[in-house]
Amino acid sequence: MASLERQQRMGKLLVNGALLFLVLLWTIPTLGLFVSSFRTREAIQTSGWWNIFPHRAYVTLEDQTINPREAGLDPTGPMLVGGGEVTFEELREGFQAPDGRYYVWVGNRRIGRIEVQERRWTVDWDFTTSNYSQVLSGKDFEYKRPDGSIEIIPGDDFVSAFLNSLAVAVPATVIPILVAAFAAYGFAWMRFPGRRLLFILVVALLVVPLQIALVPILRDFRSLQLNGTFLAMWMAHTGFGLPLATYLLFNYISTLPRETLESAFIDGASHFTVFRRLILPLSVPALASFAIFQFLWVWNDYLVALIFLGGNPETKVITQRLADIVGSRGNDWHLLTAGAFLTMLLPMIVFFSLQRFFIRGLLAGSVKG
């Protein structure tokens, strides 16, 4: 029996170990981004973000700096440093001395000094929030290069992009839910000609790729002079989100207890009253789960914004703004990481606070076009 118990304990360990490994694998990319967004521009460019963890590296010992003249070292010939012989040229490149330390000549031959570095356990904890203020603001930002010159960098105005994303995402979430809830109620509780045909259309359109609609809808919006407006985005996201919304809400609303509604009808309530007073409050879980789904989808969308909002900097949403930095300044990692984290902030808050509803929506759901 003892061996069986040990076998079970081994199995438990294996399962937990494997899951922990996968969880780390899945978390490290986001962690790296988060950590880097708080590191200084120089630090990001010259060392990996994992240097915030304790590691062994050469650290300059400030109080040990050698003044060659005081120490009696003559740079014109070989010098005795750290227990080894070294020429000036070698020392300027950096010299690994026999005593384990690392010596570098800083400055010119006549008035330079020798810095002493030792390999020690260390952490790079030089954090800053200036990446965020630079990305958020619409104002120019002055960056002082190491050599003292000043570089003017335009701010990325994520505040305005964030507001634009809100202006797109909130109505583009609520409007389709409202339209779909009315339709789902109609499909579930009303009898009318064409009902079955229309619902088959809903099911068929669930998987239609939205790419198919982009060119014709763009033409329509052009003739209605809608391109580049939030209204165009609301309409597009409503249209593209409707099949899934209607399907999910119908599945929920059609299973609500019949007796409750019938007694309301007997009391003389109209369809509209029943919908507003009974169905909407009862459907809150389904409405919430689709709302999260649609909100994340719209907030994270890039393609629809690219096509219907276009290049106007006034209306750009946050994903567009981030993609702009990727395209134009793909090496400014301090800006990219901060910007990317800002785009994730709201979805993550929504996600963590409403995870339960979101998962329920996924379980009830199917596929989105």
Partner: protein, 391 residues
Amino acid sequence: MQQTTQQDAPGAGARLLTFILRLALPIAILAIAFMVMLAGFNFLRAGDAPKWLVVLVAIAWGVGGVAALYWIFNWIVERMGDPWVGRLQPFVFVGPAAAMLIWFLALPVLRTFWISLFNRDGPPEGWLNWSDLGGSFAALGERFVGLNNYIAVFTDRLMLEAFRNNIMWIVFGATLTVVFGLLIAVLADRSGFERIGKSAIFLPMAISFVGAGVIWNFIYEVRPVDAPQIGLLNALVVAAGGQPQPFPAWTAIAPWNNLFLILIVIWLQTGYAMVLFSAALKGIPGDLLEAGRVDGANEVQIFFRIMVPYIMGTIITVSTTVLIFTLKIFDVVWVMTGGQFGTDVIATQFYRQSFTARNSGYGSAIAIVLLIAIIPVMIYNLKQFREQEAF
């Protein structure tokens, strides 16, 4: 027309009126909604209010406007008296959704197909002139190319490359997403930290593709050989004694550099698969598993002989969803490589042809091919829908 005709058998005039009103209601709701919102927008645009105020007003305007319209139209219909309420009210409820669906998804399928039969300019707009039919059709004929765009789609070297890449996306991306999702669901079910573990795997679902592109670009970042590597992957490669590589742009290993993009989507989508599998696994009756263990099956046998067959329905659902998803993949490729280095896929080709090269005929043909690839799933869905209920 079953119910209304049985009830009160209206005369021909009433029937015609019913039909016209039913058609007109949804269109009227949408048209008025549209005009009201547009007026509001122009008003906002003209003003010089601070941004947050404009945003707040826009949100209230859009949401409130739509809700108010339903209310107003329902009020009008309810005032019309008894037979009309039954005839028209369903169309107040369902009509706007149906009209939006038809405008934004159903008609575009036909319109995109129509555009795909023409050259790069598409069919001339407003080509049909009743007083000069011959001239109209001549103008149409000038741009008409028949199925040539489709021939081009299946012969163009870049398109063939995109098809090959999409197949790689399906073979590796979709399969590994399902495999990892299932593996993690099984592990989490038996582990001591199920909730936290699942949340961590699920978190990337909340991240946009553009954001994920930045995250992974940073992991794949490459520096010159003698400089310290700041990208995690190249740092590991160098630590293991290898040469730093520009991974997604590493054309020497093409087409395998696509795998570095596929990895990103596996990372993003595994959480979705895991959640569905996890719920399905919890639905397996405990005695079924117990019976298997009593019969002496080991855990691997239990997994393949009991669990997998039991959750087959979920596996099919997840697989088709992920499959469609990988078939339409766009943002990741567009942000990471822009389709360079042999990483183009169907959707990036569609975007480039339709909007960058302004070749709308060819772009539309690509969109139609994408739709055709998805039609089997659509048929499967419809079949399921037919079987599951008496609608």
